[in-house]
């Protein structure tokens, strides 16, 4: 019984971390129409920044500074925001599908750096001994996971409330105006480029935060946690949940991670270990099918975007 309970706590933590990613993507794609195909790249920047700053010192690495958890979290957000800003300066003016190709390439390049710059990132070995926040106080795995779940719930709740606020504010309405009709928005004196850039940087910063939270939950980081499949999973979450709706993004994270984990468990039960690769392939096929089927038969997702943009609109 405790086994199932601990699993559910762990599961909920991962769902919330993916929820942060999905909220970040929703800001970029759902509200601004920016096609970010490099989610996993920003996630990795956050994760590695946190790991390099907080991991216990080891002589062979440049980083591993052993700084406090909160410093790692804030620095991860700052580093990801900075990287996103530079990337956005280069790519934000590209038309939609070119932006997708460019961001996809950026994620591939970031993974190559993680894999090859061994002195900083530990190469394919990754970095371990990353401190978990307050793990001295919550010293059993279950107690720590429960505490981390609480922490994540507070963080996700805070992000949700903040996003809902800024998206209902004039800033968020401009984003949607640009998404729907850029010419009209520009005619009203709004700088489409500036708003796009801000939304891209803010969304990516959330992805970086998710990366930092992930490594401080798991305790180690490796380049194999940042394969392109993560990007596709987050998309499936947002599209299935309902693009343009923050609640939808969180529901999508729960549903898609639920399907992913359940199919993973089913596969390990049914498929012999010698065919683990085939089992994993089934999981990915399910994600791909889900993405296509939702786009074809339920393009608004489970919870679509609200039709009313402002409570003043009815007046």
């Amino acid at each position: 019984m405790t086994g199932i309970f601990s699993y559910l706590v762990f599961f909920a933590c991962i769902v919330l971390i993916f929820g942060v990613l999905a909220l970040g993507l929703n800001l970029q794609w759902g509200f601004t129409g920016l096609f970010n195909a490099g989610i996993v790249g920003f996630y990795a920047i956050g994760a590695y920044t946190h790991a390099i700053l907080t991991a216990a010192p080891q002589p062979q690495y440049l980083g591993n500074l052993g700084l406090p958890w909160i410093v790692g979290i804030l620095a991860a957000m700052a580093a990801t925001a900075l990287a996103a800003w530079v990337i956005a300066l280069l790519t934000i003016r590209l038309r939609g599908d070119y932006l997708a190709i460019a961001t996809f390439g950026i994620a591939v390049s970031i993974q190559l750096v993680a894999l090859n710059w061994e002195a900083l990132t530990g190469g394919s070995q990754g970095l371990s001994r990353i401190p978990k926040p307050l793990s001295g106080v919550f010293d059993t795995p279950l107690a720590f996971n429960l505490w981390f779940l609480f922490l994540l719930a507070v963080i996700v709740g805070g992000i949700y409330v903040a996003l809902e606020r800024i998206l209902r504010a004039p800033w968020g309405r401009v984003l949607r105006a640009i998404r729907e009709d850029e010419t009209a928005a520009v005619a009203l004196g709004k700088s489409a480029r500036r708003f796009r850039l801000e939304a891209f940087v803010l969304g990516s910063m959330l992805m970086g935060l998710a990366g930092a939270l992930y490594v401080s939950f798991i305790g180690f980081v490796s380049p194999f946690d940042f394969l392109p499949i993560v990007t596709f999973q987050v998309w499936a979450m947002l599209i299935a949940g309902g693009s343009g709706n923050n609640r939808g993004a969180l529901i999508g994270a729960l549903v898609v991670w639920g399907i992913w984990s359940a199919s993973g468990i089913a596969v390990t039960k049914v498929v012999p270990p010698s065919h683990a690769a085939q089992g994993a392939a089934v999981q990915v096929i399910l994600i791909g099918l889900l993405l296509i089927l939702v786009l074809l038969y339920r393009p608004r997702g489970l919870a679509g975007e609200a039709a009313v943009v402002s409570r003043h609109a009815a007046d």
Partner: protein, 298 residues
Amino acid sequence: MIGQAIADGILTGAIIALGAIGVSFTLQIMRFANFAHSELLTWGAYLALVFVGFAGPGTPTGPLSFGWQLIAAALFAAVLTGVVAWIVDSLVFRNLRRRGAHPLTMVFAAFGAALVMRNVVVLFWGHDSHFYTRELQIGVELLPGVRMLPDQIFILGLTLVVVVSLHLFLTYSRTGMAMRAMAESPQLAQVCGIEVDAVMRWTWILSGALAALAGVFAGLTPQLHPEIGFNLLLALFAAAILGGTGSLAGAVIGGLVVGLAENLSVLFISAGYKTAMPFLVLLAVLLVRPQGLFGEKQ
């Protein structure tokens, strides 16, 4: 050293070019970035493997490591992959098009299709490498210090033949002319009585067939694995965009430039970063000349 890198670059470039032609056509005629195109290379390579599985690779002919069976396998794979591309369009993209979906929705769907297609291959063949033939070959010294395998020279020759025939097809056949008309302006083409659906079908079949050839060639030098197409994805897009979408010559030159950039980069940077080269080429093109070498400014 440089000579060898150039020879390798031209070979990689030829394979990229064959794949990039399809990417370029879909970008121009269907108006969306088909991220599932790389999986057509993979499917082509594995469909040929199925054929070779039944017929065998054949006894080595002359200096080549395979016989006529492998060439038949490549043709078989080209036809079937063309049909596969068309089926994927009928199941997914056409339905979205009919609904007037946003072009970016098509890109999302393409990524979904790519996930399914790639992992169906894993389902059947696993992650292990496969070979069409286990014959050993001796490299031919073309110039001092520049060696190529007979198979590789064969691939270059065949690519040249395919590209020239495609050029003749596009220039002189009715379907080819209709494709070019669609690429230039879909509305105008429709007004002139061109059957849009037929042109799209032919575009898919041709793109799929060329992708299959690229996949078979990639698998021949030297092995097949499920990521064989996916690893070329960025290179395909870099080549297509560098050349200018919708341009056959552009895609070929783009492919060669990307192939050369990838192989020459090893002389300057660590080989671990080689796969980032197509992306750097792509970024440079998008920033300096987004319409590509042979494209027209929109």
